[in-house]
Amino acid sequence: MSTILDLHTHSEASEDSRAPVEAYLNWIKLKAGERRLDGIVLTEHRQFNRDGDYRALEDKFGTMVLRASEVETNYGHMLVFGVNEDMTRRFDFADIRLDAQTLIDEVARMGGIVVPCHPGRPNIGLYQHYQSKPALNNVVAVEALNGGSRKGEDERSAELIAKHGFAATGGSDSHLVSLIGLCATKFEADIKTIEDLVRELKTGNFEPVDFRPKRKPVPQAVAMESR
């Protein structure tokens, strides 16, 4: 059995999102015909949010809610999966100048995994940093598809993945309810817990899925004389 998870979401616990978790789950239910999603991972900005008990909502909507973090480093933004107390003691998640290599190595040592997100995004993506700094070691996967990407950003991510042989994930990066699940990650394994997710992310046995509606081509303008 496969599992499809949106690995990158922000709820109202992030300062720039107003999306309640319940509203996300309700939207997933409403859109089940278009976007099959088994669960979401809350990746709040610069924090690991332990607040909130989502078990009742998980039961009500039949959708899994896991927790991770999005932190900021000298190589851009990164998702940290499998956050535990050792990690929150070792790193100040609010620090926007975390050392990426130290984070990747230490999180791995403490049982988690770091996945650089929106790598094609200017200033906060791995692609741009790789133009002027040495490549990072021990990067297993990066986010190939991001629901908030602008033109060219996912293409730069694809170029980076092809060059370095990274495994590829997808996440909506939703800050608004209706954007949840637009991009996600399909795992071959059955995932029920954050430990399952970390284990599978380390294998590289997954692929990004894109539920974004295809853009309609802009109609060509026709000169008046040729009509």
């Binding site: 300062e15 900005h45 610069r46 900021e72 933004h77 926007i96 100048r97 200017p122 200033n123 906060i124």
Partner: protein, 148 residues
Amino acid sequence: MALEFDPAIINKTFEVTDPVEVKADKIKRYCEALGETNPIYTDEEAAKKGPYGGIVAPPSFAVTFRNGRHFFENVPRFGRRGFDAGKDVEFVSPIRAGDQVTLSSHVKEIYEKTGRTGTMVFVVIRSTLKNQKGDVLAHIDHRFMNRP
């Protein structure tokens, strides 16, 4: 380089305004401007029978109160550029006609983040509205973005 500021400014009230009386007529004119027709805001007799026993203001009325003269000089700045990044308003209790409303303001939070355009420093000023009894009516969080 890490952000430098005096942590003592966080949560320290820097300004409390003089009380401003909320007049029923002002609520009525506010409703007219918005096209709001609910009688609990405008009709004294209907409002008496309503859930609050008298005229109250629509929740968004909370943002009509002015901050004090020294508000902006107490907003910490980081760098020379920036903009108003919006407001969050938490409505706590209804504002009633006849209330004497004061605003007290403090720096709630200063934090950094990075985005497509570079590093940003956000300053959040919380203004709390209270009535003459000391009841909290609303919290308004003003968010200012600075480009260091």
